[in-house]
Symmetry: D2
Subunit: 338 residues, 4 copies
């Protein structure tokens, strides 16, 4: 079987994760070039079959490279993707494509017009529990869906400097949930009502002009609803749950925890905490995600998380921001590209 | 110890429940008069110490009667309570006091000005699990509360004729949840955003001008939020859950189920269904509620669910209706009495 | 409907429990005489329709009395039951009938020969969760049963003086489990292998010549097995669980707990403790048990927990004692009546 | 850091598992020679740095090889281990070392006298949940241990021909549980009482002279007990649970399941099945196990599962067989080497 030869751009946290996952687990691909302007590889860190270069464009253009993985800093995503498209090479890009809606839309249109496959890193779509939940919905196990409730809470407030450049809670964090609502239901969001506040730390507002807690309701295009609640700090760990309620039943996705042991003592019955952060909780989803990219490219299919999906999630984030500022429900159709 | 002598008005479902609970379980009260214009008692149904009369006013006025329990049809509540107040007798009234906000406010004011104790039947305040949750909040176990999520779903859609006279989902059903948000947090609601639709059966809209499914967000007066999701039909049973998320942790109240048995077979691991309806689920709360009325009256204290609480919940219901109709968040301060 | 008129002998803890349950909840019976040589009733404690006497025999013989409830101290059970049999009156007796196997057998034979109904207080047979488990077995939900595992642990070690007169762990405590194995499977025990020790407190051995911890395996007459583990002290509460494993699945009965709330904090996910002691855990079973006695007597049926059941459980307890002393499996057929 | 160079003997199911785990995950080792007399490698299946040979002895003797992994058929284990010892190379061997107690003891003594490290494949010692349980015991979280209950049930009855050569249930299957009792408590087994039968399929007895269901009690050298229940067929999946009860609490290890989703419908609340078989359930333990071997060899330490452990588990299996045959408890001290 032909193996897809990949260029990996960026050796930050996600770049390293993709490197390890592809080299260890991918049945259909291997990395042939790694590019990072700053990274200092350890001796022997990359196998003899992997070139390391400084210039990402060199990696994209490399004649052996069939497809590109973009794991560079967010503000360079758009440029990297544009270059890959220019070379006609399929590209996987970490989310978000861009913090600007206009740019996101432009790249989505570009990839479409050029017929270049572009996949976005909505990794939660590849988590086994969420896959299982979506399949049950699609199989009609709970009939028509009425309400999806998505809980997404981080274990720790990120540093204020990070928040300043993150694009804000809705764009940086809730965007996964906007996508999840669409992924689970197969419906588009048409209206958003969002409340947000800095309940955890006032410095989030004063220092980063951001919020740390949010409650968002979405109206979907079949008249059903989704509810998202977000917090930047759940002291008990990374709180990643889902509840899908329909006419014939309910599906709940509970947290994944450190172990299955239960301890009983005079004070209570104690269960394990949820996995504390995303690299643990979504370890499997990152493996599956890259393999899904590789397999769909090899088969010439549309990737399972596209720039169009990214655009829809970004639209919802923009609408959420406007809803919060104006304290009113905002339709996605109101959102223009400037 | 002196026993409180009670008149019980109404021998419908709730009247019978109160009769049984008081006669069997109350440590501080006994019923001396039962009044119902239509009820046909069985021979020996009431003990020799209980008089049965047709006219509720006769029961209220009876010289042996210290306090009154109103369990008559909703549209007679206000009149019964006014009569009890006129006789200066403490009164327990099933919710709602009245479907009209104006009337509710008027009676609340009347009871207050006359110094007559008036308790409303917000029975869920007396459920052991919710009591336990509230106590944990008050003890600071989860620190400052950020979000309360209340799930309240009926097992079966009521008949359309019932819905026609019910006052609508927010007034008839969600009102428990408006009260629960206040009970758990100790805060008042200041703003409501509500979405509602007939997702279960279009006849709810066409036949009763009502909704069967709702998603409501509340802003509380300390800047925290509550989220209510309602459905008239959860096929798996009466879905009564609570999740309270705060800066130092989370409390969840899960459904009470028929039994604790788990069955494993080749198809899965099967747990028991939730108790199917309110008489089972809240059996204990009805016992506790009446005893709380009796004990606070005996001690001369304020009852733990007052007409003022009822007024606040009713205001939220009115605001929810307006919010849904006008598709915008509505402040309780906007709501006038007409 | 005719009501069964009962004499209640003994106003200790169980006597009071039966009094309250019958007077408040029984659909088919009422107590007309209470007898206790020592009890000092409070003024008005018994209603006007209840006579209080000192002499149990007077109560048994009372012409209004249809049936007798024996809740006197254990060493008087046999005598009371014999008198009730002599008067031809159906009798309910708290377990054990007698600490002596010979006496137990004699009374069982006497009741049988006289055709007098005799029910024993194996209250766990009337617990809703165990009833549910047994029904599932009978319905074939898990096919043929291979192994029943019974966990029975007390929350606190009883005082040494109590243990001295208790008859020993197997007779006083495990006897419920011997009966449970038979109740769940519908099979008889044919062989017992028991290990026992004073692991909690050596004073149990030195001061009461008893054990506080036991591990017992039973062979049933269809070749299946039961496993019992007992402890006098589970610090987390009254541990009452059951696991039934069969060719087509498994049924587990979990502990009943104080509430359904779950609290998550930085230290873990905390669930409620099991109900701490038998009056709480088996409150419902005591109500059901007495009503089962009343209803079977009214219908002229055999009671659902007979002296023959008591004899079988007592035989298993005797075999367990011998097994532990001789460190070998002991067949019930080895046990003679002296 | 020096890497340990390994010879892998045998490319059956476990050989392949070890190959993949070492090559993909081991931080401290790599395989340099694979030996299997019959295996047909796919083109490129082994990397260029791996030699493939037919003769295991050639692999053991290979000058590059630092240590040996034995994953050949059970009846060749002893011979392979003896050769590795003869070459003075540390060796990891799948359990059992040998079906014969005498041989097991001889090899244990040989490795000891030659000072060659010999690790046995008791993989469950390396499962994260069991590690966590043992750590909690060692930290004193539940005080002194009184009873360990081990449930070990296979999902499907193996074929009768396999059972014929397996050594019997106690030696082939329960041996994991004998080791687990020692692992969790840190105590030795001194006495065994075992019951066994062919409850699932009489052909197990008639065709393989084996049993498919067992109930075993162990007395440990501190007077505490362990209870093992085994079945060859749990229709709901691979049932691997543990309960450790002590003076200050209880630890339970529950099954690992396919997902964390819960589905509620009108028929019940449905949870996921346990992982169906050992390669899934113990995937992580196999990775950890080999890495533990590698790291202890690199550090010159004693491996965490030794031939002495294997000998103790084998002794318990022999005692269990004798106990079942003679229907009496058997002390390990009774077991001689012939």
């Amino acid at each position: 079987m032909k193996k897809l030869k990949l260029a990996l751009l960026g050796m930050g946290r996600m770049g390293k994760t993709h490197y390890r996952n592809i080299q260890q687990s991918s049945a259909g691909a291997s990395i042939v070039v790694v590019a990072d302007p700053l990274y200092q590889p350890a001796a022997g860190e990359f196998g003899p079959e992997v070139s390391f270069v400084r210039d990402p464009e060199e990696a994209i253009a490399h004649p052996d490279v069939d497809a590109v993985i973009v794991a560079t800093p967010t503000d360079t995503h758009a440029g990297m993707v544009e270059k890959a498209i220019a070379h006609g090479k399929p590209v996987f890009c970490e989310k978000p494509l861009d913090l600007s809606l206009r740019k996101t839309a432009a790249i989505e249109a570009l990839a479409r017009s050029r017929g270049v496959k572009l996949m976005l890193g909505f990794n939660r779509r590849f988590d086994p529990d969420f896959i299982q939940a979506r399949r049950a919905v699609q199989e009609g196990r709970i009939g028509k869906v009425h309400i999806v409730k998505i809980t997404n809470r981080d274990p720790d407030l990120p540093p204020i400097p990070f928040l300043k450049t993150s694009g804000g809670l809705f764009m940086d964090f809730s965007i996964h949930d906007f996508d999840m609502a669409r992924y689970i239901t197969g419906r588009n969001v048409i209206e958003v009502f969002a409340r947000g506040a800095a309940l955890i730390d006032p410095a989030v507002a004063t220092g980063a002009n951001d919020i740390d807690t949010a409650l968002i309701t979405l109206t979907l295009d079949d008249g059903s609803w989704a509810l998202i609640d977000n917090s930047r700090k759940a002291v008990f760990g990374y709180d990643q749950r889902l509840e899908i309620f329909g006419e014939a039943g309910m599906i709940q996705v509970d947290n994944n925890t450190y172990h299955r042991n239960v301890r009983a003592d005079a004070a209570g019955i104690h269960h394990a905490l949820p996995l504390h952060a995303f690299p643990e909780r979504y370890a499997r989803s990152y493996v599956n995600e890259i393999e899904a990219f590789v397999q769909t490219i090899l088969r010439g299919e549309e990737p399972p998380a596209t720039a169009a999906d990214s655009l829809q999630a970004t639209l919802a984030a923009v609408a959420a921001n406007r809803s919060m500022q104006e304290n009113r429900p905002v339709k996605l159709s109101e959102i223009g590209l400037d």
